[in-house]
């Protein structure tokens, strides 16, 4: 199955809102930038995924 969640490290500003919203799916790497732990989380609630996208200040997260 293709990945549902992608995150663009090039535009990430390290605010960490995605980690606060869904810590099982998102983390910050050693530079503080977004890291997707689980690109295809079977059990992540849709509304939390939507929130992670909406709360990202730089628009770095895509869910499809």
């Amino acid at each position: 199955m293709t990945a549902r969640i992608t995150a663009d490290r090039d535009i990430c500003v390290g605010a960490g809102n995605c980690v606060l919203t869904l810590p099982r799916v998102f983390d910050q790497d050693d530079e503080g930038l977004v890291k997707v732990l689980d690109p295809d989380p079977a059990d992540a609630p849709e509304d939390l995924l939507d929130q992670a996208v909406a709360r990202c200040p730089s628009g770095a997260i895509t869910v499809r």
Partner: protein, 407 residues
């Protein structure tokens, strides 16, 4: 742009001395705004578009159609530019755009990432307890701003940066002047130069000490200055920014939060008894109090539509975070304080690529400071009528200047 039509516009920032400290824009000022994107007059002459809806503010602050560079002619300024200052201040990345901004911000993202701030929590707890011990020993009555709300974030940012707290009188005074948008431009310049000189000396001492030390400024000296990635002048500018941002912001949030929670004793008790509840309370405090009431200034660099309004290239725009956070479309009964609501979409830290990098630190400080204060002084009482407290209503960061309490 100053003309007769501009003269009739409402004057911004809105100031209503003596009014309820929990109403960011008084009803009379709200009535004078004739739409969600509307023009207001600035104290420096001219005008700015004021964007007030949650969705519009997010769209604007995330759009690359707007510049944050305050040195651009026509940028919406609240204070006249300081005379004889270089056109740009190196290192002040909140007023930079694009790659130049990202380059400097990226040097700090690891420092402020959630995991690293969690590691600092025991230190934050120690700082809070130490400050509470001193307040308790001195006994009531006390001014909670001077004895608690300001020392806590000041001590924490000093630890983090590697700045001696013993010098706090100097940098707290300069910091307050820099944030006062009614300060005389010459005084503001003096405060900036004073801070740059102070931090410049400190950084120079770290640079010449062999190993600069295990603190943020020391690490930047070791890892970025020595490698040639970062100029000393840029590091000084970044240090000024972090030190100033670490002070009045969290301090004013703590002071206003305590004042507000006086009206909500059940929430005060909940902070004391329920660790899990504190995060949600802090998010709602951030939304409801939105201390950056002067908004975030930008300038359109191309024609762009926001909230159905055409903003033309070169026009000034201000995102009014405080009204966006009271938007009924996003928050039910937005003018009510409700710690049970989902408040996490608030814009108290701004939005877009400049969103506050210190937000994990601010959240941790607020949670630890408020829960420990509530536990230590469960019967804490504000000893003055809130309407009569002196307000910091000429600062870029709103708050109460004093908060007399007993316990």
């Amino acid at each position: 742009m100053a003309d007769l039509a501009t003269d009739r516009l409402p004057l911004f920032p809105f100031r209503s001395p003596g009014d309820d400290p929990f109403t960011p824009v008084a009803a009379a000022d709200r009535r004078r705004l004739d739409g969600p994107v509307t023009r207001v007059r600035l104290p420096t002459g001219g005008w700015t578009w004021l964007v007030t809806r949650h969705g519009d503010v997010k769209e604007m602050l995330r759009s690359d159609a707007f510049s944050a560079d305050a040195t651009r002619p026509g940028f919406p300024l609240l204070r006249a530019p300081t005379p004889q200052t270089p056109q740009s201040t190196p290192g002040g990345f909140v007023r930079m755009d694009g790659e130049a901004h990202l380059r400097l911000r990226r040097m700090l993202t690891a420092e402020f990432m959630i995991r690293n701030i969690r590691r600092m929590e025991p230190l934050i707890a120690d700082v809070v307890d130490g400050v509470l011990d001193a307040a308790e020993a001195a006994g009531p009555p006390a001014d909670l701003v001077a004895t608690f709300a300001l020392p806590v974030p000041s001590l924490v940012i000093c630890h983090l940066l590697g700045v001696p707290y013993a010098d706090h009188a100097l940098f707290q005074r300069h910091s307050a002047t820099l944030l006062d948008h009614t300060a005389d431009p010459l005084r503001a310049r003096e405060a900036l130069l004073g801070l740059r000189a102070y931090l410049g000396n400190l950084i120079e001492a770290k640079r010449t000490s062999g190993r600069a030390g295990d603190d943020l400024l020391g690490r930047l000296v070791d890892e970025r200055v020595r490698t040639g990635e970062l100029e000393i002048d840029e590091l000084i500018g970044m240090a000024v920014l972090l030190l100033v941002a670490g002070h009045e912001t969290t301090a004013n949030m703590i002071g206003l939060s305590v004042l507000l929670l006086q009206r909500h004793p059940h929430v005060w008790q909940r902070l004391r008894d329920d660790d899990q509840a504190a995060d949600a309370v802090v998010e709602e405090l951030l939304r409801y109090l939105t201390i950056v009431r002067t908004g975030l200034p930008r300038q359109a660099i191309r024609d762009v539509e926001i909230g159905g309004r055409l903003i033309r290239a070169g026009e000034p725009v201000t995102a009014l975070l405080s009204l966006a956070n009271r938007d009924d479309e996003v928050f039910d009964d937005a003018d009510e304080f409700d710690p049970y609501r989902q408040a996490h979409q608030h814009l108290a830290f701004g939005f877009g690529v400049h969103q506050c990098i210190g937000q994990p630190l601010a959240r941790a400080e607020l949670r630890v400071a408020l829960t420990r204060l509530a536990r230590r002084f469960p019967a804490l009482t504000v000893a003055t009528d809130p309407d009569r407290l002196p307000k910091r209503d000429t600062s870029l960061v709103y708050g109460v200047a004093e908060l007399p309490v007993t316990w």
